[in-house]
C-alpha cells in the first residue's frame, strides 16, 4: 500500500495531475470517433489478402489530415504525461514573465517530435499489418518491442529523457533553452518508445484499451530513474515488480 501511496503522493506534486487530465480528454476524443475510422482499425485491418478491407480502408490512407489528427491525439494521450519532470524544471528555472511561453515551446517541441515520428511509424505499422499474416504481425511487433525496450540503445534514450539543459532566466534565452529541451526530450522519447507505439496500431479491436495499456507501460518506464546503459529487464517491468522479483529470485536460489 505504501508503494501505491508513494506513487500517488509523487503524482500529486507538479504538473502530473494536469497532464493526466489532458491525456484523459484525448482518450475520450479518440473513444468518440467511429470505431471503424481509428488508426488502429485502419492499420490493424489492412491485409493484402483481404481485398474487401483493403478496398474499404484504402481511401482513408490518403487522408493525411485525418491520420495526422488521430496520430496527434494518440501522442497527446500516451506521451504527454511523460514530460512532467521537464515541465517542473522549466517552471522553476525561468523568470515568471517567461514561464508560459517557455512551457508552451517546451511541450510544442516535445509533441512535434512525436508528430514527425508518425510519418515513419504509421507506414511501418501499415506495412507490418498488410504483409504479415494475422497474428504473426502482432508477434513480430511484440518481439520487436520487447527486444528494443531491453536494449542498451533504449536505455541510452531513456537516460537522455531525464536530462535537462541550461535555461536562460529571461527573454529569448529562456525560450531557446526550453525549445531545445523540448526537442531533445521528444527525440529521445521517440527513440525510447517507438515500438511500444506500434502495438496499439496493430490491434483491429480494442484499440483504445491497447493504447491505454501501452500508455501505462511507457509511463512506468519513464518514472524509473536513469540507469547504466546495458541490456536489462525493461524499467517498466522493474517498476511494477522489481522488489518482488528479487525476493522471489533469492528464495528460489537459496
Amino acid at each position: 500500500m505504501r508503494w501505491i501511496s508513494a506513487f500517488l503522493g509523487q503524482a500529486r506534486t507538479g504538473p502530473t495531475p494536469w497532464l493526466l487530465a489532458i491525456a484523459a480528454l484525448a482518450y475520450v476524443a479518440i473513444a468518440l470517433q467511429p470505431a471503424s475510422r481509428t488508426l488502429g482499425a485502419i492499420c490493424g485491418r489492412l491485409r493484402v489478402t483481404d481485398l474487401g478491407a483493403l478496398a474499404e480502408l484504402w481511401p482513408l490512407l490518403w487522408s493525411p489530415q485525418e491520420l495526422a489528427r488521430d496520430w496527434a491525439l494518440m501522442s497527446v494521450a500516451m506521451m504527454l504525461p511523460l514530460v512532467g519532470s521537464q515541465i517542473s524544471f522549466v517552471r522553476h528555472a525561468v523568470h515568471r514573465s517567461m514561464r508560459w511561453i517557455s512551457l508552451i515551446v517546451l511541450v510544442a517541441g516535445y509533441l512535434l517530435c512525436w508528430l514527425l515520428a508518425g510519418a515513419a511509424l504509421l507506414p511501418i505499422a501499415i506495412g507490418l499489418g498488410m504483409f504479415l499474416p494475422a497474428g504473426i504481425h502482432m508477434l513480430v511487433a511484440i518481439t520487436l518491442a520487447a527486444v528494443w525496450c531491453a536494449s542498451p540503445w533504449a536505455q541510452y534514450a531513456r537516460n537522455q529523457c531525464h536530462m535537462t539543459n541550461r535555461l536562460g532566466a529571461f527573454g529569448l534565452d529562456a525560450v531557446m533553452g526550453a525549445t531545445r529541451l523540448g526537442l531533445r526530450t521528444g527525440l529521445n522519447c521517440v527513440l525510447a518508445c517507438w515500438p511500444i507505439m506500434l502495438l496499439p496500431l496493430l490491434v483491429d479491436t480494442g484499440h483504445l484499451a491497447a493504447m491505454m495499456g501501452a500508455g501505462v507501460y511507457v509511463f512506468a518506464d519513464r518514472v524509473a530513474a536513469a540507469s547504466l546503459v546495458q541490456w536489462r529487464i525493461p524499467p517498466a517491468i522493474e517498476t511494477a515488480f522489481g522488489g518482488s522479483m528479487i525476493r522471489l529470485e533469492r528464495r528460489l536460489t537459496r
Binding site: 505504501r2 508503494w3 501511496s5 508513494a6 506513487f7 503522493g9 509523487q10 500529486r12 506534486t13 522553476h92 528555472a93 525561468v94 523568470h95 515568471r96 514573465s97 537516460n159 537522455q160 531525464h162 536530462m163 535537462t164 539543459n165 541550461r166 535555461l167 536562460g168 532566466a169 529571461f170 534565452d173 512506468a220 518514472v223 524509473a224 530513474a225 536513469a226 540507469s227 547504466l228 546503459v229 546495458q230 536489462r232 529487464i233 522493474e238 517498476t239 522489481g242 522488489g243 522479483m245 528479487i246 525476493r247 529470485e249 533469492r250 537459496r254
Partner: protein, 481 residues
C-alpha cells in the same frame, strides 16, 4: 534491539568494548564475498559502487561472485544525496548496518545491546574532538593482535578535522543547526534537509546539514592524495568502505535528531515525504538475509528505525526544548520563492577563477529596493548544474557589488560531483546544485555604502592549483517572501 548510541570520546577508550566489537564485526564482514548481503562490500555497495574502481583498488577481485543484475539495481547505489531523503535514507542505512553487526556481535558472545557509536567532532568542550579517533589509526586490535580493520582504508593525510588547502581553508561548523528552521527547501532556497526530490543518488541541491558539516567531513578525510586517487571518503562509490564513514554518519544522524527537538524547527511531515520516493524505494538487508523496505516515516522519532542517543546537546548546537525524540511541527506554509536574477552563460572553473555578472529582472525591483520594501524577504544565490570529473569538488563563491567595496565568500563542497556528472548514472548527468543564503550580506553591503545594488559580481574558484575542470550551468538569484 540496538542499545543507546554513545559518543566514542565518552567511552572507556581508546579501545572500549564497543569499539573492539565494532572492529571485530567489521573484520568478520570483510571476510564475506560481495554476493552475501551481510558482507562489508555488499553493505558499502548499497551506498555506492564503482565496480571497475573497486577492482582497480583491489577491494574485490575481478572474478568475484556478484548478485544478479536486478538485485544490484535494486540494492546497490541507493545513497540519497542532494535531495529530500538524505537524512531518512542514511538513518535507515545506519539502522540496517547496526542490526547486522549487532546480530553478529551478539552471536559471538558480545554485548546484546551493542550500538554504533558516533564521532562527536564538533564538541567544542573536548579539545580532542576533531582528532580521528585512535581506534581508526592503530595498526592492530589490542589484545587480539590481528590487523585492525578500522584502519584498513584509503584516506587523505589529515588526522584532525579543520581547514585544509583542498577545502579552500573552510572549516566545519554547526551553522546549519541554528540558521535553518525549515526542513524542506522551497525551490531556489535553502532548507535544513534539502529540496523536494524523488529517489536521487545525486540530486538537485544540498540541504544545509548536508553541505556543512556532512560534505566537508567527507572531503577532509578523503583528502587530497595527489598523485594517488583521493581517499575513499571523498567518493560516494567508495565512502562506506571506510569504517569511519559509519561513525561520521552516526553523528550527522544525531545532529538531525537534535535539530528535531528544537520547537523552533519544522520537520517535514507531509505524506509525500513520509511515504518516500516512487518507483524505487529504500531497501536494506537484515541479519537474516531478508531484504526489507522502509520509508522515511519509519525513521521519525518513535518509529521502528529511530535511534536512541545518549546526548542530543553536546556538539549539536541545540538545546532540546521539546524533549528527546519528539517529532516537531509540520511545514510552515504560505511562502513562495521567485527567480529574480541570473547570469548569461555557462562557466568553466579550472586553475583560474570564473567571473560572472548576475543581473536582475526589472520586475520585481532591484534587490536593494526589494529588501527595503519587504524586511522578511530572503535572498538565495544558486550555483546550478555543477559538473566535473573529480569524485568531489570544492568551489569558493565570492560575491561583490560594483556599487560597494564590500565582498563576501562562501565555500561549497560538492560531494559526489563525478557521479552526478555521469550520463550513465541514475542522475542522467544533470550535475549538482547548491544554495547559499546571502540576505544579510547583501543588506550589509547596501547598508554600509548606501548604494542600490542592481548587479552582483560572482567569482568562482577551486582550491589552489586544481586544474580539473568544473563547469557551472548557471548562477541564479531567488527571493523568498
Amino acid at each position: 534491539m540496538a542499545g543507546t548510541r554513545q559518543d566514542i570520546a565518552s567511552l572507556d577508550g581508546p579501545w572500549s568494548d564497543t569499539m573492539i566489537w565494532y572492529a571485530r564485526a567489521v573484520g568478520a564482514a570483510r571476510s564475506l564475498d560481495l554476493n552475501v548481503t551481510t558482507s562489508w562490500t555488499y553493505l558499502a555497495a548499497i551506498h555506492g559502487m564503482n565496480p571497475q574502481g573497486w577492482i582497480d583498488q583491489n577491494i574485490i577481485p575481478a572474478s568475484t561472485a556478484v548478485p544478479s543484475q536486478q538485485e544490484m539495481r535494486l540494492m546497490f547505489n541507493q545513497c540519497q544525496h542532494a535531495g529530500w531523503f538524505f537524512l531518512p535514507w542514511h538513518r535507515g542505512y545506519l539502522a540496517a548496518f547496526e542490526e547486522i553487526l549487532g546480530a553478529w556481535i551478539a552471536a559471538q558472545g558480545g554485548p546484546a545491546d551493542w550500538a554504533l557509536p558516533y564521532w562527536n567532532y564538533l564538541n567544542a568542550s573536548d579539545p580532542n574532538a576533531r582528532n580521528i579517533p585512535q581506534e581508526f589509526l592503530d595498526a592492530t586490535i589490542p589484545g587480539d593482535n590481528v590487523p585492525n580493520p578500522l584502519a584498513q582504508a584509503t584516506r587523505g593525510p589529515l588526522t584532525t578535522l579543520g581547514p585544509v588547502p583542498w577545502t579552500n581553508g573552510t572549516d566545519i561548523s554547526l551553522v546549519s543547526q541554528s540558521t535553518n528552521s525549515v526542513y524542506t527547501a522551497i525551490p531556489g532556497t535553502l532548507g535544513y534537509g534539502g529540496p523536494i526530490s524523488g529517489f536521487n543518488q545525486s540530486g538537485n541541491a544540498y540541504g544545509a546539514i548536508e553541505n556543512n558539516p556532512h560534505n566537508f567531513v567527507h572531503v577532509m578525510i578523503g583528502g587530497d592524495n595527489s598523485p594517488q586517487p583521493a581517499g575513499w571518503m571523498y567518493d560516494p562509490d567508495f565512502a562506506a568502505l571506510d569504517p569511519i564513514f559509519w561513525v561520521h554518519h552516526c553523528n550527522i544522524d544525531r545532529l538531525w535528531a537534535a535539530w528535531m527537538t528544537d520547537a523552533n524547527n519544522g520537520q517535514e511531515a507531509s505524506i509525500h515525504w513520509r511515504n518516500g520516493p516512487f518507483p524505487r524505494q529504500f531497501t536494506m538487508p537484515s541479519s537474516t538475509a531478508n531484504l526489507v523496505t522502509f520509508t522515511p516515516e519509519d525513521t521519525l522519532p518513535g518509529a521502528r528505525l529511530a535511534p536512541t542517543y545518549d546526548n542530543l546537546s553536546s556538539g549539536t548546537g541545540i538545546a532540546p526544548t521539546v524533549g528527546v525524540a519528539m517529532a516537531t511541527a509540520s511545514q510552515p506554509s504560505g511562502r513562495a520563492s521567485s527567480l529574480i536574477g541570473a547570469n548569461a552563460a555557462p562557466l568553466s572553473i579550472t586553475d583560474t577563477e570564473a567571473v560572472a555578472s548576475l543581473s536582475f529582472s526589472p520586475t520585481p525591483p532591484p534587490v536593494a529596493l526589494a529588501l527595503a520594501a519587504a524586511p522578511k524577504e530572503r535572498l538565495y544565490l544558486n550555483v546550478e548544474g555543477v559538473r566535473g570529473i573529480g569524485a568531489s569538488g570544492v568551489v569558493t563563491v565570492r560575491v561583490s557589488a560594483p556599487a560597494s567595496d564590500d565582498a563576501f565568500s562562501e565555500t561549497i563542497a560538492f560531494f559526489g560531483l563525478g557521479k552526478a556528472t555521469s550520463t550513465e548514472g541514475p542522475h542522467a548527468g544533470n550535475g549538482l546544485s547548491a544554495t547559499i543564503e546571502i540576505t544579510d550580506k547583501v543588506r550589509d553591503m547596501q547598508g554600509q555604502d548606501g548604494a542600490t545594488i542592481t548587479e552582483l559580481e560572482v567569482r568562482l574558484a577551486q582550491s589552489g592549483g586544481s586544474s580539473s575542470e568544473i563547469t557551472v550551468d548557471r548562477l541564479s538569484l531567488f527571493s523568498l517572501r
